[in-house]
């Protein structure tokens, strides 16, 4: 026993008290913190505290060659790294005037949508776990792993694919890969019924999620909300369709929306998006074999690659929302400035702070996970 080792801290007497959510807290997504002030069980104020995952990406990128940054960028958002590569590559391509071959574009769609499915499965798991339903998490993460297996086969890496290069992609699909994609999609579709039974139609979960963290469309627009969170308020905006990139304009897909803007609506939107992504992937699998061509536009020697001076703001739809890169080149071998606008920069800070006000302590974690906020995107 060692009484001397512990001094309890005197708390000022108050009806209100403060609780630290994070950084070391299971209710927080990643390494992030939320300080909440409570009155009883009700949150009266909250303040986000970031920077635990700050690595200074934007500074690092200014010190590295254009090509070297390809290895760096996926690390900005770990649960959904693929769109980072894409957005950065697209910016460099635009600056260089590189024409990406059609096949590469389809391969990129394949990568993006697989990544989206994986990210959504992960989010469902995380969201369920905040309400105490660990089985969904165990399932979701295990099923996501099947997609990671596909990534491993296609790109050589499970999580960090480093698959895109400015100009195209690094590898073509291996033999029989598309069949395995189809098989995995079949499996995932068959699993959806299981998920519905366990999770999406679970009365207890619906009770927990409905009406939690509601956001009106007006509020969402004011706060800069994007992605599934915005669509859950009724605005059918999707960068893939409204600011098209790759070959999304040649692909059929719907943009699911809900109107209530609460945790349950966001979950439903993600669930529908998962199905849409599977639909997109089916089209990719069907059409990819018929698309000939190189998978990469010729690029200069990466060690001596001056990207022409200019600037570009490239945007893609990540699983979390609008992901944008502002890239400025002065014609040098390294970027002059890159600015990453992660969707979570909004969701994890202002939106979260706003939405948790007035909610119950029980729902704080749920709100964060239902927003699918990804702290490394905030911290960079």
């Amino acid at each position: 026993m060692r009484a001397e080792n512990y001094q309890s801290r005197a708390q000022p007497p108050s009806h209100e008290y403060e609780l630290n959510f994070g950084p070391n807290h299971p209710g927080i997504e990643g390494n992030y913190a939320l300080k909440v002030r409570l009155h009883g069980d009700t949150v009266i104020d909250a303040k986000a505290d970031g920077g635990y995952l700050h690595r200074g990406f934007e500074k690092l990128m200014e010190q590295r060659l254009w090509i070297q940054n390809i290895a760096l960028v996926p690390r900005i958002c770990v649960p959904d790294p693929a769109p980072m590569e894409l957005a950065y590559s697209m910016a460099v391509e635009t600056l260089c005037g590189l024409e990406v071959p059609a096949r590469a574009q389809w391969l990129r769609v394949l990568q993006m949508e697989l990544s989206r499915v994986a990210a959504h499965l992960f989010t469902f798991g995380g969201h369920a776990a905040t309400t105490g339903m660990y089985s969904t998490m165990f399932w979701g993460v295990a099923d996501r792993d099947l997609i990671l297996d596909l990534f491993e086969e296609l790109t050589g890496g499970r999580v960090y694919h480093i698959y895109n290069l400015p100009g195209g992609v690094r590898r073509d699909v291996p033999d029989g890969f598309l069949d395995r994609v189809s098989a995995t999609l079949d499996y995932l579709e068959s699993r959806l019924a299981d998920y519905d039974n366990l999770f999406f139609t679970n009365q207890v979960f619906i009770t927990r999620a409905r009406g939690i963290g509601p956001m009106s469309q007006q509020q969402a627009l004011e706060l800069g909300v994007t992605g599934p969170n915005l669509r859950a308020t009724g605005l059918a905006f999707d960068v893939r369709r409204d600011d098209p990139y790759l070959v999304y304009d040649q692909i059929e897909f719907d943009i699911p929306t809900e109107t209530a803007g609460d945790a349950w609506a966001r979950t439903l939107v993600r669930r529908a998006e998962l199905k849409e992504s599977i639909r997109i992937l089916r089209q990719v699998v069907a059409r990819l074999p018929g698309i000939p061509g190189p998978i990469r536009a010729p690029i200069p020697n990466p060690l001596a690659w001056n990207v022409p001076a200019g600037e570009y703001y490239s945007r893609v739809e990540s699983s979390k929302g609008e992901l944008a890169w502002y890239v400025v080149s002065t014609g040098g071998a390294k970027p002059w400035r890159t600015h990453i606008r992660g969707p979570s920069a909004m969701h994890a800070v202002q939106v979260l702070e706003t939405l948790v006000q007035g909610c119950r302590l029980e729902d704080v974690a749920q709100i964060m996970f239902s927003l699918d906020a990804c702290p490394p995107e905030v911290d960079r």
């Binding site: 986000a48 505290d49 970031g50 920077g51 700050h54 200074g56 934007e58 500074k59 690092l60 010190q63 635009t94 627009l221 004011e222 706060l223 800069g224 994007t226 605005l235 905006f237 409204d242 600011d243 600037e311 570009y312 703001y313 945007r315 609008e322 944008a324 502002y326 400025v328 002059w336 400035r337 600015h339 606008r341 920069a345 909004m346 800070v349 202002q350 905030v378 911290d379």
Partner: protein, 192 residues
């Protein structure tokens, strides 16, 4: 489509002085704006132009010009166009007006720019640190801040003494890059 928007935009910004318009890639329009004119322009864009979504505010450091460039990326859900409004402000004292009352998301970006570049935004709801709360160095994104030097001052690199290297060194070989390019230390082994 683009030209229409270009014309339309040209017409719209005709109402504000000190704005230059350059049509760029499809769905990307660039405006070069005098610092004074920006708030009025943004209000116009948001109010009349349906550019309700502030996608980001980027800061670019141009030490040779002694300027910071602030780029306001706004998006219209209706016109499906992104307008980037560029302004340049002097690096010293690095102060500018907040656009928080026009676009709420500005709070995050302005705070971020304040942390990373030291630009102060008057009227922003909070200029307190967020990411770099425990950082007392200079604003790290400024070009004059040398990250690698800072790292060398504050950290040691790992010390490796694998057997194979000892063996090669005993035969006269060894690390073949210049000591100043070598990024891990090779001090004498700890006295342990």
């Amino acid at each position: 489509m683009t030209t229409d928007i270009g014309q339309w935009l040209g017409h719209l910004i005709g109402q504000v002085e000190g704005v230059q318009h350059r049509g760029r890639h499809a769905r990307r329009q660039r405006l070069d704006v005098a610092p004074d004119a920006l708030p009025a322009l943004l209000e116009l864009l948001q109010g009349k132009g349906s550019f309700v979504h502030l996608s980001a505010i980027s800061c670019v450091d141009w030490p040779e010009d002694g300027q910071f460039e602030l780029v306001y990326h706004v998006w219209s859900y209706e016109l499906k166009t992104l307008v980037s409004a560029h302004i340049r402000i002097p690096r010293e004292p690095g102060r500018y007006l907040s656009v928080y009352d026009i676009y709420k998301p500005a709070a995050f970006f302005e705070r971020d720019i304040h942390e990373m570049y030291g630009v102060f935004f008057e009227g922003s709801p909070s200029m307190e640190k967020f990411i770099l709360t425990e950082w007392d160095g200079p604003p790290p994104m400024r070009k004059e801040f040398d990250s690698e030097n800072w790292v060398n001052d504050h950290f040691d690199w790992q010390d490796y003494h694998p057997d194979w290297l000892n063996d090669i060194e005993s035969r006269g070989g060894g690390i073949a890059i210049r000591p100043d390019e070598q990024r891990f230390s090779r001090k004498a082994k700890h006295e342990s």
